[in-house]
Symmetry: C2
Subunit: 254 residues, 2 copies
Amino acid sequence: MRIVLIGSGNVATHLGQALLQAGHSIIQVYSRTAVHAAELAGQLGAKAISDLKNIDCSADWFILSIKDDALPSLIEQLPIVKGMVTHTAGSVPMTILKSFPHHGVFYPFQTFSKATAVDFKTIPLLVEGNAEQTTDTLLRLAREISGKAQLASSAQRGQLHIAAVFACNFVNHMYALADDLLKNHHLPFDLLIPLIKETAGKMENISPQLSQTGPASRNDQQIINKHIQMLEDQPQHQELYKTLTNSILDKLNW
Amino acid sequence: MRIVLIGSGNVATHLGQALLQAGHSIIQVYSRTAVHAAELAGQLGAKAISDLKNIDCSADWFILSIKDDALPSLIEQLPIVKGMVTHTAGSVPMTILKSFPHHGVFYPFQTFSKATAVDFKTIPLLVEGNAEQTTDTLLRLAREISGKAQLASSAQRGQLHIAAVFACNFVNHMYALADDLLKNHHLPFDLLIPLIKETAGKMENISPQLSQTGPASRNDQQIINKHIQMLEDQPQHQELYKTLTNSILDKLNW
């Protein structure tokens, strides 16, 4: 396929590399910022463009990988092309692209950083197309780069995104709160790494319902009250400790 | 050293195995439940006892690895021995053992399951002794089995335990809440595994402050409101979503 990448961020970068490796051609990379377009285009052997007027309308596939709130205005400026047009966003419905005859979604379910190499084979890739043929094509393309390609409706993708907020963003916030507590007592964050890895690693073998441990899971009120008392001088941490402890107690019907 | 293990749970099991491998002798394993004592004693080449009267008072080291709330009554029943007496608990001060001339704490900072093999070399081992000689001995023993042995006061250990509640127990609860959301929409939990591993794996290279991503981290009110609306039929998840989103917004001074 001859592909135009619209966007030069983390997702565009990793997706472009994976599609190139799978034998496709990235013919153009667009970014509003010429330097960003040039940088990624250079890596992918593509032409950099920073004006949508220069877009190659003959491409087979246009991948829109920009910030959610920038999508509507970009879509308005895009010529009505014959190739497939897809976005890569979790919480944006497919219908935002309905003006294009062949459209869909190509959503890699992972958190990306530019600096960290990514093995696309292990990343779930969730696709949706506006018609059977588009869906089939997107699923076939997804299977070329990921071992975990599957269909997902816009509604399912939205729920997945919320689940990711809990399992990634809120989890990271828990790490940050733990780090605060250690810093206040001159202890290095490194001490937590083995525990963090083990807690995450367990999820490959056991459900989170069965792996819940800690004072709340056994309704150990003595320790819970002691912890709440020890957090007296950190009211925000104390409040969250109470809320999350109650949430675990509720969930386990204590 | 000739060691008596008091307790036969997850920590006693893994600690006993590590000390045996380091060349020490586990001479007795005590558990109130004779079968449990026999099972672990069999693994460690020790004698099983289920009556504290039969304890070998000539041992060099007595390791108490039982539930926190069972410690006081067990300590009362224990004869005043000359060897070192230590417990393995995060939230119990060392002074609970003050009736013994040589006492301290030997706290492995990890979550253990009996079924999962453990590499003690990578687990932080936090020690404290009632006198310099005891502290030195405990630190030397800790270094025999762990690459991450260090001193920690009772106060520091208490804070570490609270940090672990955030970084392990509350994190696991986030996984469980994410699982609920997926189940309600007929999506498998497996989809989250790569994201969970990446989120935890990042902590080896970057601080949790710098790795925070997601709608709250960029104050994306459009997505936040959409998510809150989508959680309308799951009020507990919705309430936590709001609380944790506000906590991230506060932390990042939005």
